[in-house]
Amino acid sequence: MDSQAIATLPEHGHAEHEHSPHLHHHFATEDQQREASNFGMWLFLLTEIMFFGGMFTAYLIYRNWYYPAFVAGSHWMKIWAGTLNTTVLICSSFTMAMAVYSAETRKRKALLRYLSLTLFLGFVFLGIKAYEWHNEWVEHHVPGLNFSINDFTHVDPRYPLDKPLAPDMAEKTQSYFSLYFLLTGVHALHMLVGVSILLFLIFNAWKGAYTTGHMTFIENFGLYWHFVDIIWIFLFPLLYLISRHQ
């Protein structure tokens, strides 16, 4: 690589950047490299927005069409679990932000601590989600695999004021649960990917990789983690809260 050539560039003659081991040959400066990867990560998050966009569209349409079924379906959601999970994710977002901060201020121990906390909270979230899914399996609420409309055609003891649904509308609770499993499933898949990357990050952070000033990777992972949090911030009210009223 011709580092001589870079040095001749008038605007970017910062000597300390030239020999940085993290600077890829096609970038002139480390700032440029950092901005580029930051921008790239954001573009990737845009595709994620659109990816969820298709599912949100489907959700809105069917909620419009089969509102009573969505009411009945969301009554079977455990609000405490949803609230707890929202809190867990928000906490993990906070610890992730703090991890990025620790990397910025080059504190290896703090970085390790916050990353491990984030990882732990990620597992807690997945655990609670798995518990909920297990419950839904037991209650025969998994469309396509294990579904029965029984719960919706009879009065729900916990909601004695609710009228049971007519069989045709009760069938439509499948739409609700399909979208529920689709949205939470794809979200959990993102969490799984995030958790796996976190393991890798912790290993590298332990070796001191991100506390030398080169922290693009951890910064971008932070963006990803926060994005997954944002998705949940919308899923929680959509699936658990807004359809609870007749």
Binding site: W65, Y66, P68, L165, A166, P167, D168, M169, E171
Partner: protein, 363 residues
């Protein structure tokens, strides 16, 4: 030319080349309108392409390197660019408005149109005339009278296309779509399924027979199946027990259906809707979404119990229901029949028909 090839082959070629169409027949009232727009579009296309070709060819000749060794650099011209932005835009707007008007002409049937039902399934078209005439892969229509097709698919997307009439409409599972036309020339025209629908998609074709009104009447009379759609519907109505609630009595549990078709009703959620074919069909399949104000949502769904043809019969029956006399009559006879085993009274003719009707269901 024909000295070099065999005369038989030559004659065959001439015949072949002389007898293939380049333009479809115009056989409906909208066809001339569609073709007028088409010729306008052809004209502006030719104009546009002509200008482009003229520019490219003349510049190629005029400014060929041999003739013009040195290019003159030109930045652009706002005036010219504005011209070729605004003129195409104006032309496209004309096309848009014209096309939209034609669209409404083709898809908004006149109120006096006669109705024929079409059911699409892999891979055939079934047409059902109100008089009970059934046909497969064929459609007989009178000339000079608006015909509305109410169409539905039993399985996948199909598309009902009559090129000579310039009409086409997707036939969708779960939902009625309509199209209308007035045939203007007696004749036999192609009927195609144009939406890819599986293995034998290209066999899902048939013929449309546009007939003089008197021929059509003769055909109707000659191919009757004995009972009209409404009569079939009446039997189905009774056998499904619809009359138990929709008896028309003021105290009955279901809304009165006499003269219901075309009326505006208020639904339980407060909104108003016009009772049309689609509303009737959906109410049978998804009753809880179509509860009339003032009634309890107690009607069971008939999803999976009535075939699309059966639904058409029911819809047609309700459309023709002007009073509840017959409903109550059927109700009485079926009561009689139900109690028949104990009282030993013979069932009436209608009761027998009702007993037969399970064959109509799930056909």
């Amino acid at each position: 030319m024909h000295y070099f090839i065999s005369p038989v082959l030559w004659q065959f070629l001439v015949k072949w080349l002389a007898h293939f169409p380049l333009f479809p027949p115009e056989a409906s009232s909208v066809a001339p309108y569609a073709d007028a727009l088409f010729f306008f579009l052809l004209f502006i296309s030719a104009l546009g392409s002509g200008i482009v070709i003229l520019m490219v060819v003349s510049f190629s000749v005029l400014y060929h390197k041999e003739r013009n060794p040195e290019a003159t650099q030109i930045e652009g011209s706002t005036l010219l660019e504005a011209t070729w932005t605004i003129i195409p835009l104006a032309l496209f707007m004309i096309v848009f408005v014209w096309g939209a008007l034609l669209y409404f002409r083709i898809y908004n049937p006149p109120t006096n149109a006669m109705n024929i039902y079409v059911v699409g399934k892999q891979w055939m078209w079934k047409a059902e005339h109100p008089g009970g005439q059934h046909e497969i892969d064929a459609l007989h229509v009178p000339v000079g009278r608006p015909v509305r097709l109410t169409m539905i698919s039993q399985d996948v997307f199909h598309s009902f296309s009559i090129p000579a009439f310039r009409v086409k409409r997707e036939v969708i599972p779960g939902r009625y779509t309509t199209v209308w036309f007035t045939a203007t020339k007696p004749g036999t025209y192609h009927l195609f399924c144009t939406q890819y629908c599986g293995t034998l998609h290209s066999q899902m074709i048939g013929w449309v027979y546009a007939m003089k009104p008197e021929d059509y009447q003769a055909w109707l009379a000659g191919s009757t199946s004995g009972s009209s759609l409404a009569q079939n519907g009446e039997r189905l109505f009774a056998s499904l027990g619809c009359n138990a609630c929709h008896s028309g009595n003021p105290s009955s549990r279901g809304p009165n259906l006499a003269e219901a078709y075309g009326a505006k009703v208020q639904l339980a959620n407060g909104s108003y809707t016009v009772v049309d074919d689609a509303f009737l069909r959906d109410s049978i399949l998804n009753p809880s979404s179509h509860v009339t104000a003032g009634y309890a949502p107690i009607m069971p769904t008939y999803q999976g119990q009535v075939s699309e043809e059966g639904l058409i019969d029911l819809v047609e029956y309700i459309k023709t229901l002007h009073s509840n006399d017959r409903v109550q009559q059927t109700l009485n006879t079926s009561l009689v029949q139900n109690s028949g085993s104990t009282t030993g009274t013979g069932a009436s003719a209608q009761g027998q028909a009702a007993a037969e009707t399970p064959r109509m269901v799930n056909k």
